[in-house]
Each structure stands twice: as C-alpha cells, then as structure tokens.
C-alpha cells in the first residue's frame, strides 16, 4: 500500500500501512530519526512535527491524515543549525540530554509562526512538551531570542 508523503519538501513514496502512526512512518520508512518516540499517547510531544504548519504529535495521528500535506521535521528546520530558532537554542546552550528538543523546537517554531512576538503566557499555553531534564528555563529564553532573530 504505497502512498506519498511530502516531508521537508521532498516527496517520499512510502510502502506501509497508511494507518501506521505518522511518527513511525517518518522514523522507519522515510528514515528521519530526529523525531522521537517517548510516550506514544500524544502526551509528551517528543514526536512533534508540523503538518501544514501546525504542531502535531505524530505518534497519535495515522500517516494517512498527512497525505497531501506538508510535513516539517527537525531535519527540515535547517540541516546545519542555521535557522534563527536553532541559533537561539545554541546561544542558551538549551538542550541537556536533547531527546525532547526536536519536538520542543517544532512546538516553539509553530508558536513563533503564529505569534511572532509571544508573551510568556503564550509560551505557557502552546509549548506543552515535556522535558525531563528540566530545560524549560532556557527554552523560554531561547524562544524570546528566536522571536527577535526571526524579525531581524
């Protein structure tokens, strides 16, 4: 049952059950492992990707729902870390173990694309990813810096 998925601007022909969660199609069929599995029930956000610009917990949606839509993963934000949000993340040395950070960055990026000047309460409301290392303090500062860099 082959179907096409557009990931980071590239069309991939995927041979999988289209009901497979988008996360596993991205990791095991498209071969991009930057998107992470952690809870499998849409709670933690480690699997966050963008589907048509919306932050989506890819462990909890079938790949079929993303057919014909634009999927963005961490690998597509910029492969060399040059996107302003990645620069901001590096500036604060934000990650610790780093496992949640792909999803965290994509959640924050969706927020910034919707609200270029997010308040702290916007961040609280929309960046609901879990980080077990507790990097939240630097994540918040990095989001504010990214907002500035993305304008400039």
């Amino acid at each position: 049952m082959a179907f096409d998925l557009t990931v980071n601007g590239t069309v991939h022909s995927v041979d999988a059950d289209a009901q497979t969660p988008l996360l596993w199609v991205i990791r095991d069929h498209v071969g991009l492992t930057g998107t992470k599995f952690s809870c499998g029930i849409g709670q933690c956000g480690a699997c966050t990707v963008h589907v048509d610009g919306r932050a989506t917990r890819s462990c909890s949606v079938p790949a079929a729902t993303a057919i014909g839509k634009r999927i963005l993963t961490i690998e597509g934000v910029s492969p060399d870390g040059s996107h302003p949000i990645q620069i901001a993340w590096k500036e604060f040395d934000t990650p610790q173990c780093g496992y949640c950070q792909s999803g965290m960055i994509l959640s924050a990026l969706a927020l910034l694309q919707e609200r270029p000047n997010p308040s702290d309460s916007d961040i609280d409301a929309q960046v609901t990813n879990i980080c077990r290392c507790g990097t939240y303090h630097r994540v918040r500062q990095a989001i504010h810096l990214a907002a500035k860099l993305m304008k400039g």
């Binding site: 990931v7 980071n8 590239t10 069309v11 991939h12 022909s13 995927v14 999988a16 059950d17 969660p21 596993w24 095991d28 069929h29 498209v30 071969g31 991009l32 492992t33 930057g34 992470k36 952690s38 809870c39 499998g40 029930i41 709670q43 933690c44 480690a46 961490i74 690998e75 934000v77 910029s78 492969p79 060399d80 870390g81 990645q86 993340w89 590096k90 040395d93 934000t94 990650p95 610790q96 173990c97 780093g98 496992y99 950070q101 792909s102 960055i105 702290d120 961040i123 609280d124 960046v127 609901t128 990813n129 980080c131 077990r132 290392c133 507790g134 990097t135 939240y136 303090h137 918040r140």
Partner: protein
C-alpha cells in the same frame, strides 16, 4: 522510497552492504571507532565546524584518550556517557586544560568498552600526584572498591577504569587522570618537537595547539608533530604533575556543550536511532507483577499479522546480572518494524505465572507495613548522648511522620538496545550508564568472553540512574542470543519502561525532637523505613543529624517488598532531605524562630567540616531572596540547606536555596522564584553545565514535590504512562532563577543528582505558611490546598 533525503543516506548505504561486508565493517569498528559505521554521514559529521566527527583510523593515537589529526583536530575519548549532564564537554575540558590545545578543534568520542576489557591502565595513570581530597594540587582520589568485573564500582586497573556514569562523580573521579592524560600527551608533543629541532625541551612552549621555540622563532602545530609524538614515549611519566585550580585557564570557564549543535538539528544518535542492515525489531511484554513469568502464550493469534517474524520467550533475568533485583520474565515479538512488533505483542494472548504473595501487595498494605516497621527496633546507625534522658526533661516534644512514594526515572528515551550475537562475538549498540556491567552481562548470557563483546555507545535520552537500572540490555542480549546472526533492536513501550525501570523506594520517616525552653533541640530521634535494598539508610541521616543536637539517635527499619529499587537520581538522600528540612521548618515554627536563623544557629553550633561554608550559603541565599521583606498575601518564602558528604568524608557539595512560592485561594501552587547560593569548591570545571544542572534539578524535585507518585495495585505499577504520571511543563517552571557561586576551599563531590532537593520542603512549608495546613506526604498536588 522514491527519493532520498540526506539523513537516509547512511541507512541506504549500509543497507547496500552484504553480510560479509557488514561484519567486516563492524569488526573494523572495534576499538577507537566507537560511534560505529552507521553514523553519521560525512555531511552530518560537518555539523561541528572542522573535521570529521570520528577519527581517521589511519591516525595513530598519542595515548588512550587522545588522537590528534594532521588538521589539528583533537579527538578526546570519554569513558562516561553523555546523558544531558555535559560530561562530554567537562571531561574533554579536563583533558584539554593540560593538553593546551585549540578548544575549537576538540571532538569528543566514546571510549571503547571492548578495549577496556583487553587493556590495563597505564602505570602512570594509577598514581595521583598530590595528596587527595583536601589538597588543591591533588586530584581527589576516585572511589574504587576491589577489582570488580561487574563494573559496579569501576575496575581500578582496567584501561578506562571507571566507565560508570553515576553518583554525580564523573568530574570528581575522572579529573585527575584525565588531566594527567592531557599532560602526558602535551609533554610528549613537546619532547617530539624538541627532538626534531634538537633543542632542549625546556625552551619550548605549547599553547592553542602550537609549539614555539622562542629564541629561534620556530613553530609547529600539534597536528604536524603528532605522528612523531605518538612514537615518542615519555621517559618518566610518573614525574608529570597536573595543574592546580589556580593555574586553570579552560577549566572554570563557561563552555557551551560540544554536542548541542547536533541536538538542535536532530542528528544526535541515541540508542533508539540505531539502524543496522538486516535488523529486526523486538517489542516486549514482561509480567507486570515483578517476579512473575510466562505460563503460556499463543503465537498463532498473531502469526499472520503484518511484519511478524517470531516470538521469543525470555526468563526472569539472572539476579546476579541485575544486582540482585528481581524483574519479570516475558515474551518478545520480533517483526520488521517496531510498530508492527508492538501492535502484535499487544494482541498476543499471554498467561502469567504470578507469585501470589507479590500480587497481594498494594500501596496501602505496603505503607502499613513500613509504618509498623518504624515501631520495631530497627538497625541503629547512630546513637550519641542519651536521647531517652533528654526527652524526659524536654520543655516541648515535636513529632512528625513523613511519607514519600515510589518514584521512577521516567527518562524520555524508553529503554532500548540493539544486539547482534554471532558465533564468537557480541555487538551491542546502546546508551548505557554502565557499559562495563553490560559487557559482563553479555559474556555471562552468551558464553562469549568479555574480550569479544563490543559496545557501540550512544547518547542517552536522559539517564537518572543506569538508564533505569533496568534489564533492557539483558533482555535484548537474551533475545538476540536466541536469534544469532540477526541484529535485534529491542525497544520498550512507555508502559513497558515503567515495568522495566527500578524505583526509588517508598519511604516513611518519623522524626521526634525534644526542645528546650528556648526552642533549641536537645534531642533528636530519627527513624526511617524503606524496603531492603532501597538506597536510603546510608543516604543522608547517618553519622550526624547535620543540625546540632547534643543527643541524637538514628535507626533504619526495613521490610521486604517485591518492587525492584535502584539508584534513582538523588537516591534516598532526596527523600531524607525532604524529611529533615521539613522537620527543621516545623521545629523553627514551634520555637517561634525564623527558619533561616534557626538553621544558621544550629549549623554554627556543630563541629562539621565546612560549617562556615554552610553558613555562607544560607546567608547568601537569604540575602539574594530579600529574606524578611514583605510579600503579597498568598506568597511565602522558605529556605533549606543542601549539603552532601561533609559528615562522612573529605569532600562535600554545599548549597542553600530560598524558594518563593504562591498558593492561590483555589489551591494552585506556583514556584515563582528560586535563589541559589552554591559553592565552587576549589573550582567548577564548567560553570555553565553546573547552572544547567541546578535549573534542571529544580524542575526534577519540583515534580517530586508536587506531582509524582507511583502506586501499587495487585502487585503492579498503576501509573505507567504520562497521562497518569504527570510531569510539569514550561508553565510551571519558575519564572525567576538566580544562581550565585561562592568560593570554598575543598573538592566538590558533584552536581548531578542532589541539588535543589530543597524544593520539596520549601513548597511544603510555604503551603503551611499560606494555608495553615501542614502536609507531610508527597506529592502535594494530591492534597486540598485551598484557603481563604
């Protein structure tokens, strides 16, 4: 796939290898080539500016820690595992401080656990110059017990000695020989240059990877001279000394973590990301009641599901390989993808053999059992003065009983390991906090000697205690051993991870103090109860009470439960700090005294080493927080001291924190601000990583205080995913964290696991100050915190 993206290239290339090539490549991957061949493609390796992520295998090493390529890239081999604590950077800093190389060209790499099984440590690394912990010129002795092949304490004379990453000790235990490794290499580079130029070595200087001869103006680079240095032994390595803190130039500066660029681009290779040609996935289901095993299962039900290959039953892992802990037996479904395997194992009918006495456990009867253990005599660990007599003449007696629940690590990356067993070797790809132990397990399970076990170490998506102290490696080895020739990637579901982890033991503590007429304690009796093996009795209360009391008695009381307990971040100390510091607040309130000044006075009265540092920490944190200045209604401050080690050895780690907390009339708790005064000891290696550790542990212990609990019903863990086991998000992070360091004159133990334990008692005391209600059992979110 019709088109390939960059990141799929590595996979596609390896998939093109035939079996013979694959094994040959894996064989070539032994030793230094630790990250293995499947990572990263050349393009990915360029994420860090400069040269390849891994070394050019043609380059000869200077010593077992250091390889210098012709382009001056310095590869530093790290024997600890990076799990977010910054060890890849701090350990590399210790080497490079002495090497005096260009820090921008440093690339960390995992040390080889296989080579560690084959080689002994060079003689010169075994002798620490200086005189131990109290000497700033010395290193502080690493803690090794007897030669222990399981690696529990490290192996004192194996090449990399302690490959374990635990006990907040990577910096403390690694520093002296990592500095020594850097110094030995620097001296040999200088000797090689001196020989080449035929000048006395004393006339040469080394800085930023350049060697200069001032009088002739000649220069060379480390990359140019390295081949010669690699063949130049040092005539007297035992005379090499390491730099004391006052000579550090790199250590002690804030350095961003070297692997962060990989972590913001999704390129870090964690164990879960390993892909091998011909690899199959395993999803497991082990008996949810610890100590249970498989009675029967019906493979026919799932045999025809997509991708399913086989089912492997595995026994209860040998407790000798899991440090006496009893996990469960179970089954693994092997399939082409993990999602197929997981879907199939979910549908596999399994009947369990469950020990009825284990199924009879539940939180209520376990709690009851601990409370009654408190009333039994227990093991007396300290008995100073005459506690009984002091109580008989007390002006006032205060007594409180505190409770803490079972708590897991719940690291973000679920347990996983990829294992290939062939006729005469085992290859394991894993993020592992204790590769020497895993190597030992692999040899025991397969019968293949440790010298033929190859660990390809990966970063860990959180650790917090040997990535769970759980048997993911042992399970994967057992499964792969039954499928020899096929690489098996075992991955636990989140629910399975809650079964496969070990827990911090649930605990009870009864503290009873006799106060004199002025409110000062004249006697303290502490009883703590945990299950056997619970990492509590020796955690914190022990030889002294920390705060001065002339008559002190401490006993611990154990009972037997079936839940495997292990070294969760902070071990029993975090629970003990909640008991002790909460009780200090209660005593101060009973005495009508300020909890900061009450603590201060009771530290001042002790004979503890470093008591002035403790007072300094309290003073500084209080001052930073504006202690005593008015706060709005519904907001309160609480203070606590964090100290580890001063009672028992020559090292300590000391901090004090003030937490400003609000509770809304509706009962919503907000940690608004944390003021942290932390000592530096003789020197922090990477103060940036220390700050990040403190910030992270504020979140960690906030969660312990507010939200987290694992309960037991019918012998099983009830909360087994993040819907029922809540973890705070960014909206609960304190908006203000202020961290200040102050210099002290001793070596630190470490930062990794027992900072910010004060969040627990502080929130409890703030709730008391605001609502008038004192809760003594965690987590607080389970209580009615409303007030008006």
């Amino acid at each position: 796939m019709s088109q390939r993206t960059d990141s799929s290239v590595a996979t596609a290339q390896t998939a093109g290898l035939n079996r013979r090539e694959f094994l040959a490549t894996v064989a070539a991957a032994q030793g230094a080539f630790v990250l293995g061949f499947w990572v990263p493609s050349k393009a990915e390796a360029q994420t860090l500016p400069g040269a390849a992520w891994y070394e050019d295998s043609a380059t000869r090493e200077i010593n077992a820690w250091i390889v210098i390529s012709p382009d001056d890239t310095v590869t530093v081999r790290i024997a600890q595992t990076e799990l977010g604590q910054g060890v890849w950077t701090s350990n590399a800093m210790m080497v490079c401080e002495e090497l005096q190389c260009d820090w921008t060209k440093v690339r960390p790499q995992y040390a080889s656990a296989n080579r560690d099984a084959r080689e002994m440590a060079p003689e010169w690394t075994l002798k620490v110059p200086g005189n131990g912990a109290t000497d700033p010129k010395g290193g502080g002795e690493p803690t090794f017990a007897n030669r222990d092949r399981t690696g529990v304490q490290g192996i004192p004379d194996s090449l990399y000695r302690r490959m374990r990453t635990n006990a907040a000790s990577s910096v403390k235990d690694g520093r002296y020989y990592l500095q020594l490794a850097g110094a030995e290499a620097r001296e040999r580079l200088l000797l090689a240059a001196a020989a080449q130029w035929k000048v006395p070595v004393a006339e040469l200087t080394a800085r930023d990877s350049v060697i200069r001869h001032a009088s002739s103006g000649r220069t060379t680079t480390y990359g140019q001279i390295a081949p010669l240095a690699a063949g130049t032994p040092h005539p007297h390595p035992e005379t090499i000394t390491i730099k004391p803190p006052d000579q550090w130039t790199l250590m002690g500066t804030e350095q961003k973590n070297l692997d962060v660029p990989l972590k913001v681009t999704g390129k870090t290779v964690y164990g879960i990301d390993v892909r091998l040609p011909g690899m199959k996935w395993a999803a497991v289901r082990s008996c949810p009641v610890y100590g249970g095993d498989v009675k029967s299962y019906d493979f026919e039900v799932i045999r025809r599901l997509p991708g399913v290959r086989s089912v492997v039953q595995f026994p209860i892992p040998d407790p000798a390989l899991t440090r006496g802990r009893i996990f469960s037996g179970g089954v693994a479904v092997i399939a082409d993808t993990w999602y197929q395997a997981r879907t199939a194992v979910d549908r596999l009918p399994i009947e369990w053999k469950i020990p009825p006495e284990h199924a009879a456990f539940n939180t209520a009867n376990m709690r009851e059992s601990l409370l009654s253990a408190l009333d039994r005599p227990g093991t007396v660990r300290a008995d100073q003065g005459d506690v009984g007599a002091a109580f008989s003449r007390a002006a006032r007696i205060v007594e409180a009983t505190y409770s803490t629940p079972y708590l897991p690590r719940a690291r973000m990356e679920p347990g996983n390991a990829t294992v290939l067993v062939t006729g005469d070797r085992v290859d394991i790809w894993i993020g592992d906090q204790s590769p020497q132990e895993t190597r030992f397990s692999a040899a025991k399970i397969t019968g293949i000697p440790e010298q033929n076990v190859y660990l390809h170490l990966c970063h860990l998506g959180g650790g917090f205690g040997r990535n769970g102290n759980g048997p993911q490696a042992e399970q994967a080895i057992m499964i792969a051993n039954a499928q020899r020739g096929t690489p098996i990637h075992l991955l636990w579901s989140r629910e399975e991870d809650f079964v496969g982890t070990t827990y911090r033991a649930m605990g009870e503590a009864r503290l009873k103090a006799a106060l004199d007429a002025d409110g000062w304690p004249v006697a303290l009796e502490v009883r703590t109860a945990m299950q056997e093996g619970g990492f509590g009795p020796d955690a914190s209360f022990n030889l002294t009470s920390r705060y001065h009391v002339p008559n002190y008695r401490y006993s611990n009381h154990t009972t037997k439960f079936h839940v495997p307990v292990g070294t969760r971040r902070g071990i029993g100390q975090a629970a003990h700090e909640f008991y002790r510091e909460s009780f200090m607040d209660e005593l101060a309130h009973a005495a009508g005294k300020d909890p900061y000044l009450y603590r201060r006075e009771l530290i001042a009265r002790t004979n503890l080493p470093y008591k002035n540092d403790m007072i300094k920490a309290l003073d500084m944190a209080a001052e930073m927080s504006g202690w005593g200045t008015p706060l709005p209604k519904g907001t309160a401050r609480a203070i606590a001291l964090e100290e580890r080690g001063a009672e028992t050895n020559g090292m300590a780690t000391i901090s004090a924190m003030v937490h400003t907390v609000s509770v809304s009339p509706e009962g919503k708790v907000r940690l608004k601000r944390v003021d942290v005064a932390h000592e530096t000891g003789f020197g922090l290696v990477n103060p940036l990583s220390v700050k990040k550790q403190i910030e992270g542990q504020i979140v960690w212990f906030y969660n312990d205080a507010m939200h987290q609990v694992n309960t037991i019903a019918e012998g099983r863990i009830v909360e087994n995913n993040f819907n029922r086991f809540p973890i705070s998000r960014i909206d609960e992070d304190p908006p203000e964290i202020n961290i200040r360091f102050f210099p002290t004159g001793h070596w630190l133990i470490g930062m990794g696991h027992d900072r910010a334990t004060s969040v627990q008692s502080a929130i409890g005391d703030a709730i008391f100050q605001i609502t008038g209600k004192r809760y003594r059992d965690l987590p607080f979110a389970q209580h009615d915190l409303r007030w008006a």
